[in-house]
Symmetry: C2
Subunit: 102 residues, 2 copies
Amino acid sequence: MDEKRIAAIFKAFCDENRIRIIKLLRSGEKCACKLLEEINVTQPTLSHHMKILCDAEIVVGRKEGKWTHYSISEKGVEQAKECLRQLTTLDVESENKPCCEK
Amino acid sequence: MDEKRIAAIFKAFCDENRIRIIKLLRSGEKCACKLLEEINVTQPTLSHHMKILCDAEIVVGRKEGKWTHYSISEKGVEQAKECLRQLTTLDVESENKPCCEK
DNA sequence: ACGACATATAGAAAAATGTCAATGTATTTT
DNA sequence: AAAATACATTGACATTTTTCTATATGTCGT
């Protein structure tokens, strides 16, 4: 995966309000109006955050009439975890010449 | 952990250059001058990114004479993984009233 | 002690992000 | 059909982040 996409995925988790939204969704699917009651932003701001979360595929939206129900995407979360794993797993294969020795 | 700290941890992973730096460190400890050769920023900008990575505890710096050797912190990475797990694990306990029903 | 080197810090400019008010688009309710 | 509701989009503004140049700090070699 390219750096830009990886960055987009983790951007989901680097705003305080988005973290609050994710925490709220742990208890299950919620519609935007419910989320709006719980976090202290205006409706357009919430909508903006939901877009970022959905683009990162951490959250999915399900439209039903005039409501949109959001929930955590198990698939997206797995991808984020896998991404974090790949990024941070040491590569023992590549021999690493010590650098900047005296 | 509070939202601010969680955000700080994941900020490590939401800049393209920092992701490149982390990828470089997978092959083992590297000094700043080596990293500088590989990513396309000035020395102060690299220094700035290293500070963010170290503050997030994803990377640790080891000073040795005039050099600073950076490496991925296994401990910090584990904490990030655990954090991601906790954030995204569904809470089956809390019953979730369906909201916004017709 | 002096010059060269490695890195950090300060300050400013540029770019990206978060926020809100106003407005648009569906859909539902009356 | 009109009003109300739920959500998205637009555009403006403020804040934060990224980046640079210039400079400071600390260490090494001579």
